[in-house]
Symmetry: C3
Subunit: 156 residues, 3 copies
């Protein structure tokens, strides 16, 4: 099964292409490594899953946001390389959680992102991860995620 099929089996689908909200590239490639920009979650071109953990959103809602953001990020990876079956391993993710000064469950929120990776690529290929609380995020997003991804060489 492809990673996309494994995600579909868990009821998860990749969203349409992520809007580009500034002067940068969604993905920058060097050899077999992709540097993937910070992503948020959008629906119909509008930002969704907005607000602050510890004030507006519960940890469970933040985890849902983190899941949606990782699906958006994987959508950009797929658009760049053609299909997720070329992903060897997501090496590193950095999960930014829009949080109050008192919030302390960023790691539980971030699981929403990395559980998507466990489903798509297997638990033995989970990435290194950091999860931190940020004072605010672009467009009021609750969660933003960036990643470094190792891919297999393109078949010539």
């Amino acid at each position: 099964m492809t990673p996309e099929q494994k995600l579909a089996g868990a009821g998860l689908t990749l969203p349409p292409p992520h809007p580009l909200v500034g002067t940068f590239a969604l993905v920058a490639q060097r050899g077999d490594v992709l540097y993937v920009s910070g992503h948020g979650a959008f629906a119909d071109g509008e930002p969704i899953h907005r607000g602050k953990l510890g004030a507006d959103l519960t940890t469970a809602e933040g985890k849902e946001a983190a899941q949606a953001v990782m699906l958006a990020l994987l959508g950009s990876v797929r658009d760049h390389i053609g299909g997720l079956d070329r992903v060897n391993r997501v090496l590193k993710v950095l999960v930014f959680v829009n949080s109050t000064p008192e919030f302390s469950e960023h790691h539980l929120v971030a699981n929403g992102s990395t559980e998507v990776l466990a489903t798509a690529f297997g638990k033995e290929r989970l990435p290194a991860r950091s999860a931190i609380g940020v004072s605010s995020l672009p467009l009021g997003f609750a969660v933003e995620v960036e990643a470094i991804v190792e891919i297999a060489p393109a078949v010539p």
Copy 2:
């Protein structure tokens, strides 16, 4: 034209060397990749462009800060490799914006950094980017930027 000449054509110049305000290296090289430390903006050795977006600075002022910080960062890259014409591509930038909890235009602030890169290296070589709001920054900086840079091998 060299990247330095393209910057000059846009009225932009690289500042004097960035002070080293701690126990670290401004640039760490592995092969053809440079890991560049978080930079701020200085003038005459003193920090400039300080304050918080959403309180002390407008988005336009934050964007100016982000421009100055990227010029400082490129100055350190130039000092490390001798000239910006050896830069193949800035692969990734992470833009930290000193922000109130309500601020939501970090992406517009960050454009101040990446538009410098578009000028110097071309829009087709723009980096991946994340922009986030941080609660505070060293020395009260409004913006801090770090980068990963791919360079060409040195001519033997």
Copy 3:
């Protein structure tokens, strides 16, 4: 002397393995590069060095936290590769400091982490570094640190 012996000479020891508090890997390896997850400081399985710089902890206490966190991170590196003598260089560290909006000495806090690296690997191999203020951290940690590490190939 091995890096472990140099640390011991400075009265520093690597702690027991870091708990895994989520769905991720403490270290993800690609060739000779290790991506190391965000670490905190634990004692007897419980988080220590908690609180906020600018409110609960002095800069000196934050620096102690940063030292403890780097020792925890190096413990995970050692567990992954067998011994710190295989570390060529820590290339990059990102130091997250749990801070009030007014705090401005993140660079002094972060020195607690990178001075450990100077002791273990020498000042000529210091990493690139960013230090930022975050609104909050998992489990209330005062400091979290992630790293990218270059290692020597394993002896066959």
